[in-house]
Amino acid sequence: MKDGWLQRLRDELAQAWTVTVKDMKVYYLKPGMIMFGFMMPFFMFFSFSVKREMAAAQGTARLLALTTFFTAAAAGPFIIPTERRLGTYDRLMAAPMSLLTLLLGKTAVGALFAIGTSAFALLVGVVAFGASIAQPGLLIAGIFLSAFSFSALGLIFGSIPTHNPGDVQMPSTLLRWGLLFISGVFVPLAEMGAVARALAYLSPLTYAQDLMNHAVLGRGAMTAPLLNPWLDIGVLLVSGVLFLLPSIKMHQRSRKLGY
């Protein structure tokens, strides 16, 4: 076995990908993932959008924000407690890879699920509703960054020391619903009061929605984006990295508690 940090880095990346592929095979078709990850964003979109006047592009941008957010954040809270309960998480924790590698592998599981679901949502928006995409490159960047950030957010809940997925679903769902209503998804930022808008700026979903607006609607649209897209990109990137930190801390705590 070759030594050196480069070999170690290659090993760790390969291990992260191995974890991701395994989880995709094991969990993507589980009812919990399909319900909370795939169907929920569409269900919510149609619940809050039917019979409201909305341009196809605006609806598509909203649907994309919803799918990246809900789908990516659903994976961690479902997969990790399930694996803890079944004992398979021990297999991963005992394997020769760093905790960060494991968490990156798990983040990719949710992110790729969200990217796939968003691709489906985009297809629905473009084919079924005739939406056009103003900036495709920005859209791809937005979907990827949002998926990464929200998957890392979901991982925080997955990292709560418990063997029961039910213990995690409740706080995870509460937070996701809370963020949904303060982040300019259903009420555009421009229409919010000062306090609500200040609150919205604390939510990463706000930046994801704004970025989707940039990418799908472009400038000069009815529900125009308010923020600089580079700010959106920066916030999503940084928040994704920052969201990994509490997960690391909670895993370290789990090792002390015996989960």
Binding site: M1, A94, P96, G258
Partner: protein, 331 residues
């Protein structure tokens, strides 16, 4: 002989509860080391600390010369773990389970398929390689779980209760495999409460009780240290089962335990007890179907050390005597 594992002052608190209490032991390279203890004694907690799954409160663990707290990576590469529950991925086939583990442990691509095939053939799972583990029996999952733990050819293998719940054939196959792995140079750390299994497999055993190491030695030396736990086993006819009370009243008998159609009479002096048993049989016109003296088994040692009593049968007059041990018998 070099140590594979060296544990010093290892301690684990769960809140205020002291699960493992400043234990010290060494496991030599190439040995099968049994870690015995009753439920809740601290066996699994210790094993989880040794396999990096649980952080110790105090103490140090050095495995193959690496301090686990500071340098776990090289240890993990050479370590295999078979937990109590067969933690295979039931949604994956046997083949995919092995491939996943091989990739996780960075087994070279050129060796993965050959290793997996060899293991599946060894474990009698080759024909089932494309079957999902959810359709496997408990024994098959166990074998797959062990195959996953050794696909990277670890130098140190941790096995937590490898055979309970398995049929006799599967349990024997796993014990044979443990012997084979050990013969090939793998150090085995066997956590079990199956005393006879430890007796058959282990070069040395440690007995942990209430979080502390109560004894540590070879099975035979431990038995020698407990020569006072000897017994005479007798089967009488007719109606041999009705004689427990008078037999336990014979001089020198500390406990009488019903063992199927026999009575086992624990004593410190079997030679003094034998003539008494014969006299009793003669005076009651009983036929002695079998009569034998037994040294202490590892189970006797274990129960003596851990102070466990799993049901005893004793004569009324004997109740004031200190109760040593016993199991199984009821009247």
């Amino acid at each position: 002989m070099n140590n594979a594992i060296k544990v010093q002052n290892l301690t684990k608190y769960y809140g205020d509860f002291l699960a493992v209490d400043h234990i010290n032991f060494e496991v030599r390279q190439g040995e099968v080391f049994g870690f015995l203890g009753p439920n809740g004694a601290g066996k699994t907690t210790t094993q989880r600390m040794l396999t990096t799954l649980l952080e110790p409160t105090e103490g140090s663990i050095v495995i193959h010369g690496h301090d686990l707290a500071r340098d776990a990576y090289p240890v993990k590469r050479r370590m295999g773990l078979v937990p109590e529950e067969s933690n295979v991925y039931t949604e994956l086939t046997a083949w995919d389970n092995l491939m996943f583990t091989a990739k996780l442990y960075r087994v070279p691509r050129s060796e993965r398929a050959a290793q997996a095939r060899e293991l599946l053939e060894t474990f009698g799972l080759w024909e089932k390689r494309n079957v999902k583990a959810q359709d496997f029996s408990k024994g098959m999952r166990r074998r797959l779980s062990i195959a996953m733990a050794i696909i990277h050819q670890p130098a140190l293998l941790f096995l937590d209760e490898p055979t309970p719940g398995l049929d006799a054939q599967s349990a024997r196959a796993i014990r044979d495999l443990i012997r084979q792995l050990n013969a090939e140079g793998t150090t085995i750390f066997l956590t079990t409460h199956q005393i006879e299994e430890a007796n058959q497999l282990c070069d040395r055993v440690a007995i942990i009780n209430h979080g502390q190491i109560a004894a540590i030695d070879t099975p035979e030396r431990l038995k020698q240290a407990f020569q006072r736990v000897q017994s005479v086993e007798v089967a009488l006819e007719p109606d041999g089962q009705a004689h427990g009370e008078p037999l336990s009243a014979l001089a020198g008998v500390t406990t009488a335990v019903k063992m199927g159609d026999k009575w086992r009479l624990y004593t410190q002096d079997p030679s003094a007890l034998l003539p008494q048993v014969m006299d009793y049989a003669r005076s009651h016109e009983l036929r002695v179907v079998s009569l034998s003296t037994l040294g202490p088994s590892l189970e006797d040692v274990f129960l003596e050390i851990t102070g466990q009593q799993v049901g005893t049968v004793r004569h009324e007059a004997e109740r004031s005597k200190p109760r040593r041990r016993g199991m199984g018998g009821r009247r």
